[in-house]
């Protein structure tokens, strides 16, 4: 997915950028199989009757539809497959009972989502019972194991592309934390063993299996009954995993949607704290302006895509110029020439890493010290052990002493001073509201700041400022117009033209 569709972080000195209609640099692609439990238990109502009650099944369908819509708008080349298990009807290449792979025309089982897929999937509940049906797939007395079959089918679907360049995931949506609870004796141990083995085999092949639990307040989903083993959670990780109980359907859907998005690392960078002490951190783009899908040119006769080609022509002679090597800038009535190498050399003043300069009290970070969206930083011990320890120590110190860190962040193109602001984790009923970590805020240089207020200075005695009485009146006004429960990003962009695309 293009994390920076507006090119905010691209180097703009090269005016070739306007040509980037078809450029899609996707180093890592994601393939996801949504494995949705369709057993009768999933069709129980969530919450009490006072709500406009809906089923667990509905929550799963809603959150997946939501993320598919976001995915398709985000111009991603990621592929998805939708697979139900514990179904009456079967539909899969392995001809296994209780597993139904849902699809529409003009796409393969595992493929990019299309408008038709999203449309039909969103309203699947209406026809689900008649077309696909719901049925328990693991019952005493039978050797059927729908969960095992589902994992098998999912793994087979993901058998394309190499794990080196593609990230493969199976997301299991269910409200049953003990699928083999009804089975007893040797059969139970056997079935559990083979199912867990199946999962291990998939994981060995580079597929990550994740559970998206749906739980209700009085009966929280307990991964230690079965799923902890399946997905390989150990000890502390089990505790980490606790899904918070939800009261309302919206919260459940919110939680699910958040868990669906795999965290995409923008870059792993080295953070130099002091002479000889470097730690490693991963950066994430939690906030970026989402642009609607890009526009491309079509031939109006055939409606097929066109490919653009550019050529360089000398303005004076009309001759073709091959990739021009030099650039120039007018100065003192002549043209001063530069080679592309010289220009890169000028921009190269740092080695692309984050370098700590010191700390300042938080109140010195002013509201107008901003240029671009911030980038989130989280530590990783993958390459340098001990990174996390140092990061957390600094994080706690900064929170305690109410300071932010000032650092120099030198990408090869656009080195900047940045402020690192520590953020403590914050959770609410809908899940994690703020992740723990640091936010890297890009600071303006003196060249970027305009001193507009001074335009208005007059040489006369002074400008009027409000009296205490006037300030009191203003306070009364403000209290009347208070926004209750305001939270950032509660508004959807009214200018989103993707709303149009319902053809």
């Amino acid at each position: 997915m293009n994390l920076d569709p507006q090119g905010l972080f691209r180097d703009h000195s090269d005016s070739d950028d306007e040509f980037e209609l078809e450029k899609e640099k996707d180093p890592s692609k994601e393939m996801v199989v949504y494995l949705i439990d369709a057993s009768p238990k999933m069709f129980d109502l969530v919450g009490n009757d006072e709500d406009k009650s809906q089923t667990y099944f509905h929550a799963a369908i809603s959150s997946i539809s939501q993320s598919l819509k976001t995915q398709i708008i985000g111009k991603s080349s990621d592929e998805v497959a939708i697979c139900f298990f514990n179904t009456k009807e079967k539909k899969n290449l392995q001809d296994l009972n209780g597993v139904f792979v849902f699809n529409v025309n003009d796409r393969e089982f595992l493929d990019q989502p299309t408008a038709k897929l999203i449309k039909e999937f969103s309203c699947i509940e209406g026809t689900f019972m008649s077309n696909i049906g719901s049925q328990y797939g693991i019952i005493p007395g039978s050797r059927e194991n729908s969960l095992y079959s589902a994992l098998w089918v999912a793994q087979a679907l993901l058998r394309k592309g190499s794990p080196k360049y593609v990230s493969k995931r199976i997301l299991v949506f269910t409200n049953e934390d003990n699928p083999f609870g009804n089975i007893t004796g040797a059969a139970k141990t056997d079935m559990i063993r083979t199912t867990v083995q199946r999962a291990y085999d998939a994981q060995e092949m580079g597929i990550s299996i994740e559970i998206l639990p749906l739980s209700i307040p009085n009966e929280p989903f307990n991964v230690s009954h079965f799923y902890a083993d399946l997905i390989g959670l150990e000890g502390d990780e089990v505790a980490q995993f606790l899904p918070s109980a939800v009261e309302r359907l919206e919260d459940m859907t919110d939680q699910l949607t958040k868990r669906i998005f795999k965290k995409r690392i923008v870059r792993t960078i080295s953070f130099s704290i002091a002479e000889g002490i470097n730690i490693e951190v991963n950066t994430y783009a939690l906030i970026r302006p989402a642009l609607p899908g890009s526009v491309t040119w079509l031939d109006s006769v055939t409606n097929l895509s066109l490919k653009a080609e550019r050529s360089f022509i000398c303005a004076d002679t009309g001759a073709l110029v091959h990739e021009p090597p030099k650039r120039f800038h007018p100065y003192k009535n002549e043209n001063v020439k530069f080679s592309v190498d010289e220009l890169s050399e000028i921009k190269r003043i740092s080695n692309g890493h984050l370098c700590l300069l010191g700390f300042k009290p938080l109140d010195l970070l002013k509201d107008y010290h901003n240029l671009k969206p911030s980038t989130f930083i989280f530590p990783t011990d993958e390459a340098i052990i001990g990174s996390t320890k140092i990061f957390i120590a600094l994080h706690r110190s900064m929170l305690q002493l109410k300071r932010f860190a000032l650092a120099f962040y030198g990408g090869s193109a656009n080195p900047r001073l940045v402020a690192l602001v520590a953020q403590d984790g914050v959770t609410s009923s809908s899940g994690q509201v703020e992740p723990p970590g640091m936010h890297m805020i890009y600071l303006p240089f003196s060249d970027d700041i305009r001193h507009v207020e001074e335009l208005q200075t007059t040489a006369d005695a002074g400008v009027p400022h409000a009296t205490d009485d006037q300030i009191k009146k203003a306070s009364v006004l403000m209290k009347r117009m208070e926004l209750k429960d305001f939270s950032v990003c509660q508004f959807a962009n009214p200018g989103d033209s993707s709303v149009v695309i319902n053809k």
């Binding site: 000195s13 980490q240 965290k263 066109l306 010191g358 600071l443 305009r450 009027p464 508004f491």
Partner: protein, 485 residues
Amino acid sequence: MARSKEALVLLLDVGPSMHSILPEVEKLCTMLVQKKLMFNKNHEVGVVLFGTEETKNELEKEVGGYENVFVLRDIKVVDADVVDILHNIPRGKFPGDFVDAIVVGIDMLIKKFGETNKGKQCLCLVTNAQCPTKDPYEGTKEDQVDKISSNMKAHGIKFDCVVIRENPVESAGKSVIDENDHLLNQFSKNTISKIVHVDSPLALLGALRTRSISPVTVFRGDLELGSTMKIKVWVYKKTSEEKFPALKKYSDKAPSSDKYATHEVKVDFEYRSKEDPDKVVPPEQRIKGYRYGPQVIPISSAEWDSVKLKPDKGVKLLGFTDSSNIKRHYYMKDVYTFIPEPGNRKAIVAVSAIARAMKELNKVAILRCVWKQGQGSVVIGILSPNVSCMDNIPDSFYFNILPFAEDVREFQFPSFSRFPATWLPNAHQQEASDNFVRMLDLAPSDREEMLKPEFTPNPVLERFYRYLDLKSKQPDASVPPWTAP
């Protein structure tokens, strides 16, 4: 249409106590003038040194006094010569008297412009103001400064001053410094002046705005607080990234004897069908398509127009909320300033009342803005107060754009407390970290804040402009090596 020219007189202290910082002063002044040469070719510049061994100025000839003030260059349109002169400023032998220098500067401006060009003239003083000024023939030093500044006001001359003091001064010099600081502050009573204190070479480089951009309003109109309450405001950009200059591509096809050759390169686009790469598709046959997943949906421009949101221009208040509700890291883009309509007393007071109330109660306002009619995009953002500490600058607001729901990716991260113990610092390590943070303090109480964004110039841009100047004299010069300040 003749735009009145801006005129600047640089007043530079070259006395012995300034010698150690003069290389930075040279860098600052050459950058200032170089940018004028590039972007404001019709501006005029004059240079006056004080603390010099020689004396050369008209006042000395006419009325006597004003020793050790040397006019290095009369006020003339900026040219390559003044850049070169400022590369190598002669060092002086005497302590500088800035008041004398100011009077000489004023005299030069008045003689050149008389009653014209008011408001476009500026004196820029760079000094450490560490040396005592002479007593005037009559009256106190304060009276003298008052007279001088009134004269400046009468002619519309602005005053910019950078006071650079690297080391804390021993107590013997303190009374002189206090007196000088007091005198400098006096100027702001009568003139439009800005006095900036820096204590490091790096901050000196960023202390003067080297490029004057005429600010353009993004919006002029009503800030609607409700259906009946409206305040007239003007909105400008407060921050805007100064990008690396776009360099045109160079073509050497035209012979060097051709004086009219532009040596520019045009870029030509041709569109070919993917199916039939030999066929070029002309512009009339092209339409726009919108990518939706793997498909492309053709949309004619009529359909685009009907779908595009055409909101009405306007800035509306949605409500107030606690400032703690909005975390700093949600600010999305460049920052805007909202100022009350200049000269509009009601607006100025209204803005002031709300800004001060917001500050007192720790609240911010949420606005919905459409800057231009039929623009097609709406922004939602937070308005925060900017209460001014100067009498002659009105209170204003800062505006930061906030993300929409779809701009936010809510990834989940594990909580630190759930990490295994080996990943967490123990009490001893935590204490060491606390001490480390305390130690690397960039804003200790006895000094100016270090690396303030307002005073830190973009090193890549600086490097480029210096290299540009170097290359114009030596076309084969290679990029000078980079040394971090």
